[in-house]
Amino acid sequence: MPSTILSAVRTPLATALAGVSANVFAYVPESIPAPAVVVVPDSPYLEFDTIGKGTFRCKINMTITCCVAYNSNPASLDNIEQLITSVVAVIPNGYEVQAVDRPTVTTVGASTLLVADIRVSTWYTQTA
């Protein structure tokens, strides 16, 4: 069975992130228990940079969304900065870490979260 993007890219990334002090998801969960780190696709999601079509290979753009509880603005900002720092430190080799978008306040269900996106890219080649 060929490798999948979930098994070859997203799950290893989520596993590498497991050491940070947050709940880590390789997909978007129904509810987000803060603090949380969620790996989601960016746009464009897949880019085809290399020659040939014998094998499926592409550059994958992803967003690592960091979420902390938004109770007090200075404390939440400090918390999300610390979470971003710890996430960037454990991103595996082979990933381009591009930029962190500005934190925004988002309401998910009953909880209010301070959310910032870390944009990362890597290359995927499908193997048998």
């Binding site: 940079d49 290399t50 020659i51 040939g52 014998g54 094998t55 290979r57 381009e96 290359w123």
Partner: protein, 132 residues
């Protein structure tokens, strides 16, 4: 009959029988001909006297990978810099070019935050053999 557009995805690159499509972002085989021009009493006369072919490749660095092209090229250039490597370049199915190139040392490094990349200009020994 409409033109059939072929793209970089139709290309296949093989060096020393190993396929390196996965790390190659661009590959071009070009010729730089030497044409002498003479000014005669009747006007200009031209003589095509020589050809020098080059293979230009843009790559993603693949240090550490299984069957690494960068490591193979480094080793080849270090151990046998004057021994050619066999290259096969398929422009599209049915148009294949076979030739030999001399190895070069790859560059090492890159700029943050991008991928480590390199561009090689490989000197082709002799003339490519085409199969149309």
């Amino acid at each position: 009959m409409p033109t059939t557009v072929i793209t970089g995805r139709d290309l296949v690159l093989t060096i020393a029988t190993v396929n390196y499509d996965a790390q190659t972002t661009s590959v071009t085989l070009t010729n730089s001909p030497t044409i002498d021009v003479y000014q005669t009493l009747d006007g200009k006369a031209y003589k095509h006297v020589d050809d020098q072919w080059e293979l230009s490749i843009d790559l993603l660095a693949d240090w550490g990978a299984a069957s690494s092209l960068f490591e193979a090229m480094w080793t080849a250039c270090e151990s046998a810099p004057n021994t050619t490597l066999a290259v096969s370049l398929t422009a599209v199915t049915g148009a294949v070019f076979a030739f030999n190139v001399l190895p070069v040392f790859p560059s090492v490094g890159g700029g943050a935050p991008g991928a480590q990349t390199d561009s090689w200009t490989l000197t082709v020994v002799g003339t490519p053999a085409e199969t149309f």
